[in-house]
């Protein structure tokens, strides 16, 4: 029997999901599949597109690989658009002139960004936000732009605005409607969102109708609005909605909606029974679904119909939860309370910037919709009430009220088994429970088994609740164990090691653990052992515990080479030492960069070069910078009263003294410090784990700040301290953190989870409420007394040096390494560059 021929037009998220489902179906062998993509690559995760700006590459975003398609016998053609359909003879033609016959044709052409017909919209630096190529264009344009405007304050527009901000542009959002995210949010929610976004430095302009884009005076362009006002900008990013990509249907006469979209029935068939439409190009019951989950459901339904199944598409829920510019926002069902008789509960907290609204039915028993801004923790629960039409508790307002005492949590038992928990992968509560019953005892295992929470991740909290509740009902205790080898948390292990005086991992494992250990518990134990014992970490008992970077005393880079970061306390360096750094970098051809930690990072050193490099550095008076360790990184500083006209204390001497005191201190996560010489705060001490700011009378101490993904300003802990008291408090603070924090918990998160918070921390460290300050201080004294420069110890031991070669049995370097020159220095070659380089040689 000849195989049934299936053509999928468009290899986007939904087209790819369709193919995956088809490959997994029992009839896969009797099908012959070919897909065409207009884009130059196979499907990627458009939902996570913005991650491109935070470092994800096109490869990271890929949903599949050419290998997967080849293995499963799926033919694919990239960079070729389908331009015509012959419905009676059942074949399609592509832009390159290729003709292919089909038995079933799947249109998964997605949508395209709508650009309002504004004069001037087609100029350079007027862009859209949909594909990887769009993002490349945006990045490129940002290089020569200072100001960026996003046209459209909807969901996507705000995401785009966030991207522009990340690219360093002064960002404006221009919205036609009177509020942001008008579709999903009500007035109160939109208002709060606006306030939060403006706090982040963006400017929001509502009720603005752009009339034209003309040349600007101070910027590249000027946007003139209907009300006579204007805005100058270097870049315009349109995000004014999407339109279904339905040109094939239009030209080749498939039934269309009045305002576009390819009409489909419950089986996802178009007006031609052999042609299906799925995803954002499809119009069902007069509606387009601009989210990926409904598209996935359509893919499933179409596969089912083609392979003889009976599934139907009956609409989809459009609730959303997302983080925009770090602000949590969620909208469920009828957010505006448009249902006749609908009533609302509203909770507003202007201090903490939280807004929540519940829309309930006339009789107060069913949830119709909700809006959440600033705190979306209840989203999962509320969504389940809505989707399963469950009866609300007697006091529904308690669902959104701040938890005074016990908030009514929705017992997971109340949820029907059919309730969908993960919409990305259509995983029901029942499926998760049965995975747990079949031996998945933690969320990780359930994720692997069911795929739940591996898409957008929005359901992760809910999945955990279901898993925990199922475990509890099976009588299995829910734990915060470090890993499968230890039934203890990091804090408990730290107590065990400290109190029992344990000095090796083997001892710990044989008395308190099982198995052989893993990459979670070994470095954790290694770090605790180092915090209390502070032995040389490459000692034979400890070496196998050390994480990627520690084990060769350098940060491993993506190609397997290492970085070299000598300590430069306070960033103060003599010209002589600076010259040595330069000479070493030159000799070994190391890429050289000044870090944000006021020191110099040399990249690209190979294993066998590390000892020679460090020998030269140590001879010149340098020490290891512990850039590789979960330990003290740097103490940042300003010059303070020695040079600065404003300085009131000698911040530099203090910096050097404390960097010297705490260098090498191993801790649950890295810790950073800074000292500023006066209140102008040039060293940015309030963004550090420990920040010190000089006052007329001494030092103010700040604790538990950090920058990064979730920045947190440090809290003022004590004021006007003298040198001695300052050091005493820091000693106690660090050792208390080391004793009680979880693995990889920064001081900020640690403080947030510490019962009693900052006040409690002050009681412990200033008032010695627990009576442990003596112990904490002597532990610190011991660590400081046993400090050694790990590189110095290493280069003095020929046995240890044996490990620093790529091959144990040959002197050659790693043959896979390849470098390319950029701006006068070398960097690792990309995979593509390696391939072309090899071709040139052969």
């Amino acid at each position: 029997m000849s195989k049934q021929r299936i053509i999928v037009v468009g290899n986007g998220m939904v087209g790819h999901r369709f193919i995956e489902n088809l490959v997994d179906s029992p009839s896969a062998d009797s099908l012959d599949v070919i897909t065409f993509s207009e884009e130059p690559r196979l499907a990627y995760d458009r939902v996570q597109l913005s991650a491109y700006f935070s470092g994800s590459t096109a490869d990271d975003l890929a949903l599949t690989s050419e290998g997967y398609y080849q293995e499963n016998g799926v033919n694919y053609v990239l960079n070729d658009k389908v331009v015509s359909i012959n419905k009676s003879k059942k074949y399609v033609v592509t832009a390159s002139g290729r003709e292919e016959k089909y038995d079933k044709l799947i249109l998964a052409t997605g949508s395209y960004p709508f650009v309002p017909p504004i004069p001037g919209k087609d100029q350079d630096h007027c862009l859209v936000y949909r594909t990887i190529e769009d993002l490349e264009a945006i990045t490129h344009s940002a290089e020569t732009s200072k100001v960026g405007v996003v046209v459209g304050g909807g969901l996507l527009g705000l995401e785009a605005a966030s991207a522009l901000t990340n690219l360093g542009l002064e960002t404006h959002v221009v919205e036609f409607a009177p509020r942001l995210m008008a579709v999903q949010l009500d007035e109160g929610g939109g208002k709060l969102l606006r306030r939060k976004i403006e706090d982040l430095g963006l400017t929001v302009h509502t009720e603005k109708n752009t009339q034209e884009i003309v040349a600007g005076e101070n910027c590249r362009y000027r946007m003139n609005f209907a009300d006579g006002s204007f805005l100058e900008t270097d870049m315009v990013l349109f995000s004014a909605g999407i339109r279904p990509q339905d040109e094939l249907a239009r030209e080749f006469d498939l039934k269309m909606g009045e305002r576009g979209g390819i009409v489909i029935n419950n089986q996802c068939q178009t007006s031609d029974e052999n042609i299906y439409a799925i995803g954002e190009c499809a119009l069902w019951d007069g509606r387009i679904f601009g989210l990926v989950a409904p598209g996935y459901t359509m893919a499933k339904v179409a596969v089912s119909h083609i392979t003889g199944g009976t599934e139907e598409f009956t609409g989809a829920d459009m609730s959303t939860k997302l983080k925009l510019l770090g602000v949590d926002v969620a909208s469920i069902g009828d957010a505006h309370g448009n249902t006749p008789g609908a009533q609302s509960y509203v909770y507003t907290d202007e201090v903490n910037e939280v807004y929540k609204r519940l829309v309930v039915s006339e009789d107060n028993t069913r949830l119709l919709g909700a809006v959440l801004v600033g705190d979306v923790e209840v989203y999962g629960n509320l969504l389940q009430f809505k989707l399963n039409d469950m009866a609300l508790p007697d006091n529904p307002e308690a669902l959104i009220a701040p938890s005074v005492g016990d908030a009514p949590v929705m017992g997971m038992d109340a949820l029907p088994d059919a309730a969908q928990i993960c919409s990305c992968y259509d995983v029901s509560k029942g499926a998760i429970c049965s995975a747990v019953q079949n031996g998945c005892t933690d969320v990780g295992a359930v994720k692997t088994e069911t795929s739940a929470a591996t898409g957008c991740g929005g359901c992760a909290a809910m999945v955990k609740q279901v898993v925990d509740s199922e475990l509890a009902s099976l009588g299995i205790e829910v734990n915060n164990n470090l890993c499968e080898h230890f039934d203890y948390s990091r804090q408990e292990l730290a107590d065990i090691i400290r109190i029992k005086g344990i000095t090796t991992f083997d001892e710990l494992l044989s008395e308190y653990g099982t198995g052989l250990g893993c990459e979670i518990c070994k470095p954790t134990a290694g770090s605790i052992l180092a915090s209390y014992g502070n032995e040389y970490i490459l000692k034979k008992e400890h070496i196998g515990l050390q994480d990627t970077n520690d084990i060769y005393l350098g940060n491993m880079q993506k190609d397997g080479t290492y970085s070299v970061v000598p300590r430069v306390p306070g960033g103060e360096i003599t010209p002589e030492k600076l010259i040595v750094l330069g000479e070493v970098a030159k000799e070994y051809d190391l890429y050289t960069k000044v870090t944000g930690g006021q020191r110099i990072d040399l990249f690209g050193a190979q294993l066998h070069e590390l000892p020679d490099i460090w020998r030269q550095l140590i001879d010149a008076g340098f020490e290891t910078g512990h850039a590789y360790g979960k330990s003290l990184r740097t103490v940042k500083s300003c010059v303070g009263s020695t040079w600065c006209r404003y300085g009131v204390q000698d911040s530099l001497s203090m910096t050097i003294a404390i960097e010297d005191r705490y260098k090498g201190l191993r801790s649950p996560h890295k810790v950073k410090m800074a000292v500023s010489g006066c209140t102008r705060e040039c060293a940015e001490a309030q963004s550090k784990d420990v920040g010190i700011i000089a006052t007329e009378n001494g030092w103010n101490l700040y604790v538990c700040g950090n920058g990064g993904m979730r920045p947190r300003h440090a809290d003022l802990f004590a004021t006007d301290l003298d040198d001695e008291t300052l050091i005493k408090y820091i000693d106690r603070f660090f050792m208390f953190y080391i004793r009680t924090a979880d693995r990889l918990q920064r001081t900020s998160v640690w403080l947030e989870n510490l019962e009693g918070g900052l006040d409690y921390l002050k009681e412990v460290i200033i008032d010695d409420k627990l009576g442990i300050c003596g112990e904490l201080e002597s532990e610190m004294t011991k660590v400081i007394g046993t400090y050694q420069c790990e590189w110095k110890t290493t280069i003095e031991d020929p046995e240890k040096l044996k490990r620093f070669s790529h091959f144990i049995n040959a002197d050659e370097p790693d043959s896979n390494l390849a470098f390319v020159k950029t701006r006068g220095q070398r960097r690792p070659a990309t995979e593509e560059e390696k391939i072309t380089a090899i071709e040139v040689v052969e």
Partner: protein, 121 residues
């Protein structure tokens, strides 16, 4: 004296050069081989030496010899030092992504030397 043995196996280095619970990399027949020494532990292995390819197919670099050893369930594994996927030391299979499987090699300790088996010609 047995000449057959010396032609089938190649000596790499003295066994004491490899510290317990760590790995090293050998150049063997033009390929990079990661060799590991596990603390003998009945439950998981009778052997204490394992050898797999040094190339991490996910991180795309020759680094597997520098990963942390351990077990996940009843798999004896090394965690890639780049992105921490686990590779089974018996089969070479990546536990997180079985599509990826690295080559395994026969390894032994003979006269206090670590030896790798030559591939059949």
């Amino acid at each position: 004296m047995s000449t057959a043995i010396s032609t089938e196996w190649v000596s790499i280095c003295p066994v004491e050069d490899l510290l317990a619970n760590t790995g090293l990399c050998a150049l063997h027949e033009g390929e990079q081989v990661a060799i590991y020494k596990i603390n003998p532990c009945e439950e998981y292995s009778q052997n204490f030496l394992y050898a797999i390819s040094n190339y991490d197919p996910i991180g795309k670099a020759n680094v597997l010899s520098r990963g942390i050893l351990g077990n996940i369930g009843n798999h004896l594994v090394v965690a890639s030092p780049l992105y921490k996927q686990h590779f089974d030391l018996f089969s070479g299979e990546c536990l997180e992504d079985p599509e990826h499987r690295v080559k395994t090699y026969e390894v032994r300790c003979f006269n206090d030397e670590i030896q790798l088996k030559k591939s059949a010609q």
